[in-house]
C-alpha cells in the first residue's frame, strides 16, 4: 500500500529579463527532485517598461522560446504545469493580446500573478527549505527580500508567520530618492544610512523584541555580494554571508564610488548602482537580530510553484502550513487596523462551523472556505476609518491589501463578502458586485449569507452564544444554540438576516434556544 508514487511537473516563469522552466519529479511524500532547469534571456521587461507595451517582435521571440520549453515538456510527457508571469507582462497595456498569442502559438496557458501571489510562492519556496532543516522551525526566522521598489520583511516564529511588512525603500528607489543628495555630500553613504534608519525606526524595537536568530535573504544581489565576499575574504561559503564579512564589506564599499565598484568587482553598472543600498540594508537589518549570518537559499518562483504542486500532490502537512501563513498574515493585517480580536475570532469560528455543516447545501470548496475565513477576520477593518458605513470602508481597505497568495480576483471576492456582512445585501446597482463574474457573485452571496448569520449571532460583540448545533430537516436549517445570557438582540438580528440566507441557499435557517 505504501507504494511510492511520482509524477512530473513543470513550472514556467516568464519574467521581465528571462524566461525559465524547471521540470521536477515530485513523490507522494512531497519530495521534489529537480530534473531540468532552463533559462533564456528575454526582452519583455525592456519593452513594457520603456514602451508600455510588448513589441510584436518580442512576442514572436517569446513564443519561439516557449515552444522550446513545450518541447522539453513533451520529452517528459508532462501534463501538470503552471506557467506564470509577473510585472513584465502584468504592466503591459497589450497583455491580453500577448497572452492570447502565446496560448494559440504554444498551447501554454500563461497566468498573470500579482505581488501577493508572488510573495506567497516565494514563501512557499523558502518554507521548503526551512522545513528541511528541522532545527530552524524552533528558531525565529527573519526573511528579507530586497526588490527594486521596496523591501519585504517578515518573521516566522515557532513555525508560523508572525509579522510581515512592505517598506518602500527598495534598492533602486533609494538610489533615485537620494540621487540629488549624492552630488552635494562627500559622505553619501552616511546620509543613506540615516535615511534608512528614519524609515525603519518604527519596526526596529519590534524586531529586537522578537529575539530573531536566523536570517534569510532574498534578492538584493545577495548572491553577487556573497561571491565578492568570498573572493575578498578568501571564504568559500556559497549559501551564507557571515556577519563579519558583511560588516567588513560594508565598511569597504562605503568608501567607493559606483564607478570604482564596477571596476573593482567587475560588475555591470546596473549591479554596481544598487550594491551600496543593498549592502547597507542587509547590514542594518542583520544588526537588529542575533543571527550570525544571512543565508541565501537558491529559491525562485518556480520552487514555489513546485512546492505548491507538491502540497497538492502529496497531501502533506505543508498544505496547512501554507494556509496558516496566510491566516497569520491576515491576523497581522487586522491587528494593524485595531479590530476587535475576540469578536473576529468568534465570527471566524461561527462562520466556519456553519460553512462546514452546510457543505451539502452550498457545495463550495476549500478555497471558498478560506475566503470566508479571511473575510470573517477582516470584516470590521473599516471601523478603523469610521463607524458609520464601516462595511463600505472594510471593502475599500481589503481590496487595497496584498493578501498573501490571493489573486486580484480573490481579493475582490473577500472584499465583497466583507461589504455585505452587516446592513446591505448584494444588489445589481452596486458596481463592486456587478463587475464580478456570475460564478463569483454566487460565491460572494453564499458566503455573505453565512457571515451575516454569524454576525447576527454576535451582534453584541459579547460572545454570548458559546455552543451551536446545526441540523438539516427538510427545507429547514435548525440552529440550536446554548447561552447563559439574554440573547434577545441576537435573535432579533438573526430574524432580520435569515431571509437573505434562505434566498441564496434555498434553505430556511431557524434559531432554537436550548437552555
Amino acid at each position: 500500500m505504501n507504494k511510492k508514487k511520482r509524477d512530473l511537473f513543470a513550472a514556467i516563469d516568464v519574467g521581465s529579463n528571462s524566461m525559465r522552466i524547471t521540470i521536477a519529479q515530485i513523490s507522494n511524500e512531497g519530495k521534489i527532485d529537480i530534473i531540468e532547469d532552463l533559462r533564456l534571456p528575454a526582452h519583455i521587461g525592456r519593452d513594457t517598461f520603456s514602451f508600455g507595451r510588448i513589441q510584436v517582435n518580442t512576442i514572436h521571440e517569446t513564443c519561439d522560446m516557449l515552444n522550446g520549453f513545450v518541447q522539453i515538456m513533451k520529452d517528459y510527457r508532462i501534463k501538470n504545469y503552471r506557467a506564470v508571469c509577473t510585472s513584465g507582462i502584468r504592466e503591459a497595456e497589450n497583455k491580453e493580446y500577448v497572452l492570447e498569442q502565446i496560448r494559440i502559438r504554444t498551447g501554454l496557458g500563461l497566468e498573470i500573478i500579482n505581488n501577493a501571489q508572488e510573495r506567497y510562492l516565494m514563501y512557499k519556496a523558502i518554507r521548503g527549505i526551512i522545513v528541511e532543516s528541522k532545527k530552524s522551525t524552533e528558531k525565529n526566522t527573519f526573511i528579507m527580500d530586497i526588490r527594486a521598489g521596496g523591501i519585504e520583511i517578515s518573521v516566522y516564529a515557532k513555525g508560523s508567520l508572525r509579522f510581515t511588512e512592505y517598506i518602500k525603500i527598495g534598492s533602486l528607489r533609494l538610489r533615485e530618492i537620494l540621487a540629488s543628495l549624492e552630488k552635494k555630500t562627500l559622505d553619501f553613504p552616511s546620509i543613506m544610512e540615516e535615511f534608512i534608519e528614519s524609515r525603519i525606526h518604527f519596526y526596529k524595537n519590534q524586531l529586537i523584541e522578537m529575539d530573531i536568530n536566523a536570517f534569510i535573504g532574498l534578492g538584493g544581489e545577495l548572491r553577487t555580494i556573497i561571491d565578492i565576499c568570498n573572493r575578498e575574504f578568501k571564504t568559500k561559503d556559497e549559501k551564507y554571508l557571515s556577519k563579519i564579512s558583511l560588516e567588513k564589506f560594508c565598511e569597504k564599499i562605503k568608501l567607493l564610488t559606483t564607478d570604482q565598484i564596477m571596476g573593482k568587482y567587475n560588475l555591470l553598472r546596473e549591479e554596481a548602482q544598487v550594491m551600496l543600498p543593498c549592502v547597507v540594508l542587509f547590514n542594518k537589518f542583520l544588526q537588529t537580530t542575533k543571527a550570525e549570518s544571512i543565508s541565501a537559499p537558491l529559491v525562485s518562483l518556480r520552487n514555489g510553484i513546485l512546492a505548491d504542486f507538491a502540497d497538492a500532490f502529496s497531501e502533506s502537512e505543508n498544505k496547512n502550513d501554507a494556509i496558516n501563513d496566510i491566516i497569520s498574515s491576515v491576523w497581522y493585517m487586522g491587528e494593524k487596523y485595531l479590530i476587535d480580536i475576540i469578536h473576529s475570532k468568534h465570527i471566524e469560528k461561527l462562520s466556519l462551523l456553519i460553512f462546514d455543516q452546510t457543505r451539502k447545501i452550498h457545495r463550495l470548496g476549500e478555497r471558498e472556505r478560506l475566503y470566508l475565513r479571511v473575510a470573517s477576520i477582516l470584516h470590521d477593518v473599516g471601523k478603523y476609518m469610521n463607524l458609520s458605513k464601516h462595511d463600505l470602508h472594510s471593502f475599500n481597505i481589503i481590496r487595497s491589501q496584498d493578501i498573501m497568495g490571493f489573486s486580484d480576483r480573490e481579493c475582490e471576492i473577500v472584499a465583497n463578502i466583507a461589504r455585505y456582512h452587516s446592513e446591505e445585501i448584494p444588489h445589481n446597482s452596486h458596481e463592486n458586485y456587478l463587475v464580478l463574474e456570475d460564478r463569483d457573485q454566487i460565491i460572494v452571496s453564499k458566503l455573505a449569507g453565512i457571515i451575516r448569520i454569524s454576525e447576527a449571532l454576535d451582534i453584541s460583540h459579547r460572545q454570548k452564544i458559546k455552543e451551536i448545533e446545526i441540523a438539516i430537516t427538510g427545507r429547514e436549517l435548525i440552529m440550536s444554540v446554548k447561552s447563559q445570557e439574554d440573547t434577545l438582540l441576537e435573535e432579533w438580528s438573526f430574524a432580520s438576516h435569515m431571509t437573505f440566507f434562505e434566498e441564496v441557499m434555498g434553505i430556511k435557517p431557524i434559531l432554537r434556544r436550548k437552555g
Binding site: E36, L40, D75
Partner: protein
Amino acid sequence: MKILKVDKSLKKNKLNNSSNFINRELSWLEFNDRVLEEANDNSNPLFERLKFASIVSSNLDEFFMIRVASISDQISADFTEKDIAGFTPEQQFLKISQKAQQMIQAQYNCFNRSLILGLKKERIFLLKPKELTQKQKKYLDSYFTKNIYPVLTPMVVDQSRPFPLILNKSLNICLLLEAEETDNEPVFGTVQVPSVLERLIELPVNGENRSFVFLEDVIKMNMQSLYEGHKVLSLASYRITRNADQGLEEEGAEDLLLAIEQFLKKRKWGAVIRLEVESEINEQLLNILINMLETRNEMVFRIKGPLDLTFLMKMSSMSGFEYLRYETCKPQISPDFILEEDIFDKISQKDVLVHHPFESFECVIELVKNAALDPKVLAIKQTLYRVSGNSPIVEALAQAAENGKQVTVLVELKARFDEENNILWAKRLEMSGCHVIYGLVGLKTHCKVLLVVRLEDDGIKRYVHMSTGNYNDVTAKFYTDLGLFTSDPYFGADASALFNMLSGYSRLTKMYKIDIAPITLRDKFIKLIKQETKNKQQTGRGKIVAKLNSLVDEEIIKALYEASIEGVEIDLIIRGICCLKPGIPEISENIKIRSIVGRYLEHSRIFYFFNNGEEQIFLSSADWMGRNLDRRVEIMFPIENKEIKMKIKDILNICLKDTVKARLLKNDGSYMNIDKRGKEIINSQEYFYKHAVDAVKERELYEEENYFKPNVIT
C-alpha cells in the same frame, strides 16, 4: 633560491621565441611522411601498403585544398603576419612546396620500385600501352568504343572557345593539335578522364595473371580518333586541386541547410592551388596550363607515374588475396556486455568503458535500438557529426521517432567534405518525425553525446554515452576511440543541459562534471596543467600524460613549457600535428612526444594528471587546437570509476611502451624510431586486440564456471 627564481622568469620570457615552435603545416607533412613510411614498410601486408600509399595521396589532396589554399589566400591578401614558428605566409608556402615535392618523389619511388614489384610477384600487372599484346589492344579498342567514347567530351581552346572550367581533383588529358594553317600556333585541347568509369580496366584473364590498364592510357591510345582531322602533336595527363576552404558565410544565413547546399555548388570553383602533371609533359603544354590555371611554379608537381594514387585504395579491396591483407580482427564484445541482459540494467549497475575498434561498436547501436523499442523510454537525444551511409544509428533514431519517442538529433552539417551525405540523412530523420537541429551558428558541434531518458519505477533516469569518436559504425572499425556508458545522475543532468543549450532551448546552466568548449574547456586545461606545475613546486612530484591527435594551441604549449621548466614529467602521444618542440634545453627537456601510426587510426583523446597522487583522468572530443577549444562545441568528462581509471592508465602505458609503430618526435620536427634495445617489443594496437580477445575468453570461462553455482549473498 632567489637566483633560481630570476633564472626561471628569464626562461619564461624566452618562451615567446618563435624558434620554440614547429610550424603547423610542416609538422603535418611530417605526419604524412609517417603514413608513407607504413607504405614502405615491408613487414606490412602488400594490400595494406597500397592503402597507406593511397592515404598519403588523399591526405595531401585535403591538405592542399584547405591548408595550402588558406596560405595562398593570405599571400594574395598581402598578409604578412608570421605564424607561431616565425614564418610569413610566403615562407611557409615555399617550405611546404619543398617538403611536399620531396614527399611526392618518395611516394612515387615507393610506388614504382616497391609496390609495383610487389604486385608483379603476386602476378598482378599494371600495364603500360607499350606492354600490351595485339590481342589486348584489340580488346581495349572495343572497350573504348563501347564504354569510354560515349562519355567523353573533347574540348579545344581558341578565340571563340575559352579555357573550360576544370573540376577539382578530376583527372584530365591535355593535348596540342596541329593547327589547320601551318604558320599558326598549335591548338590546345583538353578532355576529362570520366570519373564515372573505373580508373583501372582489367584485361581478360590470362592464366593466373591479372592485368590492368589505366583508363587515361586507353583514352590516350585513342586520342587521335577524338580529334579526327587534327594531328595530335603531344599529350599528357594533368590534375588540379582547388581551394575548397570557402569559409561558410554564416552570418545572415537563415537556413543553414540551404547555405550548405549553395556552398557545395560553389566549392567546385575555388582557385587552383596545385597542378600535377606527368613528368614527360611537353614544356609548351605545361606553360599553357600554368598560364591558364594561374598556378605558381612551386605548386607544379611533375609526377613520375600515374597521377592520383587514390586508385590503390580501390585496388586493395579487390576480392581474393586475403593473405595480402591484415588478418581480420573481429571487434570483440566488451566483457561487460557479454551476458544477454537488459542493456539499461547493465549500465545501471556500473559505468562501462568500451575501447574501439578492439571492442565492438555494436553496443552503442544496441543502446539506440533498445531505446527505440523500450516502452519506458521517453526521449532520445544525440549529436551526429559524421555518420556512415545507411547508418544503423540513423535508422534506429528514425524508428524511435516513429514509435512515438521524442527524438532530438543535433546534426552537424558542416563536417568537412561530408556535407552532401549529411543533408541526405538529416532529411530522412526529419521525415520520420525527429526534431533535427542544425547546430549553432558559428560553432561546429563536435562533441559526441547520446542521452536516453527513461521513466522507471523509481522515477526519471538518464543514460548517457559519451565518446571520443563519432557515431559512425564504419569508422568505429578502424579508429581507436573510447566511449563511456553511465547512468550517473550528474552526467545525466549535464547532458540534458548540453542538449538544451545546443537546441537553443536554454542558456548553458551550471554543469556538474562536464566541461564544455568554447566555454570552460580551455580554462580547465590550463588550470589542470598549472595545478600540476604548482604541485611539482610544492611536493616535488608532477606528471602529465596526454593522448590526442593534434597539439597546436599556443597557450597550451606555453603552459606545458612552464610545467616542463618546473620539472613536471610530460609524456604526449600525438598522432598528427604537433607545434610543441621537445628537447629545447631548459624549456622542454622534460617533454617527450611520440606518434603512433599503425593499422588503426589513433583517435582517442585521453588526459592524465598525477595531481599529488589523486590521479585525474579525462576523456574528450577535443584536441589541443584553437579550433577545438574556441570554435567548436566539445566536451571533456572525468573518469571516476576506479576500475575504468585503471583500464585507461593501462592503455596510456601500453601506448608509451610501443616500440613498433611509435616514433619519437625530434627537436627538428621529424620523427625517429624508438631505440628498442633492452625493451620488450610491443605493437600497442596488436596488444589491445589480443587483450580484448583474452578478456572475452576469461569472462566466458568465468560465466561457465559460475553457471551452476547458486548465488550466495554474503
